[in-house]
Amino acid sequence: MNRQIRIVALIALVLFGVAFVNLNWVQLVNAEHLANNPGNVRVILKEYAIARGPILSSDEKTVALSVKTPNEDLKYLRTYPDGATFAHVSGYYSSIYGRAQLESTYNKELTGQGGGLTMQKLSDQLFGGTTQGDTVVTTISEQLQKAAAAALGTHKGAIVALDPTTGAVLAMVSSPSYDPTTISSHDANADTKAWKALQADPGKPMLNRAASQTYPPGSTFKIITAAAALQNGLGVSTSYGPTGQFLPAQTTSPIKNFGNEVCGGDMAQALAQSCNVYFARLATQLPAGALAKTARDFGFGEAPPLDIPDVASRLPTDADLKSPAFTAQSAIGQYNVAGTPLQMALVAAGIANQGKIMTPRIVKEVRDPQSNVIQQSKPSVWKTAVPPDVAATLTTLMEGVVHAGTGTAAQIPGVKVAGKTGTAQTAAGQPPHAWFIAFAPADAPKIAVAVLVENGGNLGSEATGGKLSAPIAQQVMLADKQVRGW
């Protein structure tokens, strides 16, 4: 019998060995993957045991903060004092739905896991003290953000305001908005209910229209067509006689002007009046690929490097530009061309900054709990869109738009404003999107701004960029002038 007993013993030992190997798989090899599974409540409990760092505006107002709760399990509650105003920048921090926007990209810093290991952090880790997260300071100014949100009012749309010389995002508003506090509570049922309502809302309040949604840029794209022309031997003096329509080769559908007007003249007159037939014709005179190259130089086709999610704007495709008809439509910001409000603000900012587009920055700095700055974002050039002389010419052209063109509603007494309107056709039967991009002062730029109002706002089919969006842009620039005193 001993032979059999030895075999039984051997089998048992082998099985213990298999159990040991399996334990190594679960607790060592696959451990990190398993432990970080979103279903593992421990991950959340651990995170909520941290005094998550606050998010501040550039003017030191609290955007998000964590408060200690009497609750045993989730020790800190995340609240957003002015939730809806900053929702698309701060994002949310929900025990059920995870994180978004800055709450997500700066999670490491906010939970105190980023940056250097300070003595305080080390002792917290060793002796189990409460970890205090770092503070994230955004470039967004609370005053300007509120002014922008007020200017946009109840319109569906977005506003992006940048400092053209530093790339700092001064305001980023998307409307309608939501209050992240409602999905960050510790009441799972309330969170779920609020989340479902937000998801079902046809206004898509959780969508960041400013950076995550593209729209046909309409006539604001004429700046890029003009920039392409200026760099390809077609100067401001390029003139076409006044006409009501332009029929590109190989097509039977002509390009018409807004309201079937008759227009023409040189580039300054054409841009001031936002003359479709002029820019359509101009584009067909450009070398193959020139329009796409200039659009790419301005950042189209690439998601701008921002610390919150954003999407790439769409270039005219090579195929589009082989067809005179599609080239003509692309030149006036229709057909396949699409831009985010952020991208269009960057276009204005690039021209304002002598042709150099600064990398957009939404986080100013990160501070440790003792208020030492441990991380600071520095201005850097993202794109060289046009040479300085072309930028200067475009500035002059855009000043004309505001001085005596379609954008007069953006005028600010005593300040030179450069701008461009856009009234982009959308689906048939839908009111147009109203755009305005601008920067001011034109001679020493402090702010570049893009305003988009979806589907005509409250003006419906009567809406134009000049009527609807230019006054909004003017209010934002005026507010910045008062806030920062330029």
Partner: protein, 455 residues
């Protein structure tokens, strides 16, 4: 006798180490919450130390030449289990009192342990009552089916309610069955091993000898169907098949057993939702992480969170695992003690198993040999079933982890098992010293020959 004294001193020093684990672990758990000496440390440590001191003194007195490792390993596992229970007690709101209850069971178990050592002076005497064990074993196992007596907990009908107490008679049933099988097989093994026919290399004994296999199978099927517990069913059946094979060396018995059990399991899979869901959850636990897969997924999370070194006692969240005090105590150890801790626990069980099987090979008589083999098989199989289950190596079954799981019946039965093992070990050492007692001693030589020799 010098040897027994050395063995007992070894046992005593190892028991001191186990006590250090029990007291130190308890203290550490408390330190994770508040500084200072925990209020009940003296009582908790006192009961633990006193229990094992009594057990040790009883061994010194009644089985002085027995194996010095079995009791300390049991004490170590018991200590870890108690520390984890004490740790779980404070995690619950309101606090539970599992550790205290388990300590009471420890006291009762030690009484049973001492009683077994005192009453059973020669383990071979137990062979005489083999049919009594058979009846008792079957009765214990089937007791929960009796209406009005049996209780269903978590879908399995393994419990019996007696007044204020719930207990699992199956824990005693398996010990009785091992004693019966050992008695029955030691008497009949030669008869059962005679091959009357051959199919290829496999010798086939007379067909009527398969009767007992069928009876054991029938019992396991009843457990599977009526008590709805795959693990217990497998355990009862496997003990018999393994012991039968050890006794006869006829592979046809385990093979036919495997076929029978496989067939039964296949039918059960198709007939019973609980068997099917166990398998489905095993294959894809994350398919229903909040449904049937909840338990195993929580267990895996706990083990993975523990990682290599664990969170430290009192610093994890083992209370998130359902049934953590009983079936999933190993996962709690994995979370707070890490891979280092679970490996140590695994080693303790493996060493225990190796000692038991080693003892079996040295036994001089068939009954002791089979008894020890059977007890070793029960111990190892049960440990592997539950550890494999909670780590998703095999489908989850609801058997207890010896000496660690919360539960009086399990602890009590396991203490009786060590008492029997120590008794065999002591008998053997005494026999060796006096060179006496020879029936069946030709055994060891014959065993060196090839298998098909009718053994």
């Amino acid at each position: 006798m010098i040897v027994p004294a050395v063995r007992r001193n070894t046992e005593a020093s190892l028991l001191v180490l186990a006590s250090v684990v029990a007291i130190g672990g308890y203290w550490l758990t408390s330190l994770s919450r508040s500084p200072g000496v925990p209020r009940h440390l003296a009582l908790y440590g006192g009961v633990f130390v006193a229990s094992y001191l009594v057990a040790h003194l009883a061994v010194r007195r009644f089985a002085p030449a027995s194996d010095p490792l079995l009791l300390p390993i049991a004490a170590l596992l018991n200590a870890i289990g108690l520390v984890l229970l004490a740790r779980l007690d404070v995690a619950y709101r309101p606090h539970h009192h599992l550790a205290g209850a388990q300590l009471r069971w420890l006291v009762i178990s030690v009484v049973a342990f001492v009683a077994t050592l005192v009453v059973v002076r020669d383990v071979r005497a137990l062979a005489r009552y083999r049919y009594t064990w058979a009846v008792a074993g079957v009765a214990f196992i089937l007791l929960p089916i009796v209406p009005g007596l049996g209780m269903t907990i978590n879908g399995a009908r393994l419990w019996v309610r007696l007044g204020p107490l719930n207990f699992q008679p199956g824990e005693f049933g398996k010990v009785c069955l091992v004693m019966f099988f050992a008695g029955y097989l030691s008497e009949r093994r030669e008869l059962l091993a005679v091959a009357i026919r051959r199919i290829g290399p496999i010798g086939i004994p007379e067909i009527r000898h398969f009767g007992p296999v069928l009876v054991a199978w029938a019992i396991s099927v009843v457990v599977l169907v009526q008590e709805k517990e795959l693990g217990a069913s497998l355990l009862f059946f496997a003990i018999f098949v393994v012991m039968l094979w050890v006794a006869t060396a006829r592979p046809v018995y385990p093979l036919s057993g495997l076929v029978l059990f496989g067939g039964g399991a296949f039918v059960a899979y198709n007939l019973f939702g609980y068997v099917r869901s166990r398998f489905e959850v095993w294959l894809n636990p994350f398919g229903s992480p909040r449904g049937h897969g909840f338990q195993i997924v929580q267990s895996l999370f706990a083990l993975a969170t523990g990682g290599v070194f664990g969170t430290g006692l009192g610093l994890g969240k083992p209370e998130l695992i359902p049934e953590v005090s009983t079936d999933f105590i190993f996962s709690a150890a994995g979370e707070e003690l890490g891979l280092v801790g679970t490996t140590a626990i695994l080693c303790a069980y493996a060493i225990f198993g190796a000692r038991v099987f080693g003892l079996a090979t040295r036994c001089r008589d068939d009954f002791s040999k089979l008894l020890v083999t059977g007890l070793g098989t029960v111990f190892c199989l049960q440990t592997l079933l539950i550890i494999g289950g909670v780590t998703r190596l095999i489908p989850l079954t609801g058997v207890t982890l010896p000496f660690m799981s919360y539960g009086g019946s399990s602890l009590l039965a396991n203490f009786v098992i060590i008492a029997l093992l120590l008794r065999v070990s002591d008998n053997l050492a005494v026999d060796n010293l006096v060179g006496g007692w020879t029936p069946g001693s030709s055994e060891s030589l014959a065993d060196l020959g090839p298998a098909g020799g009718g053994r």
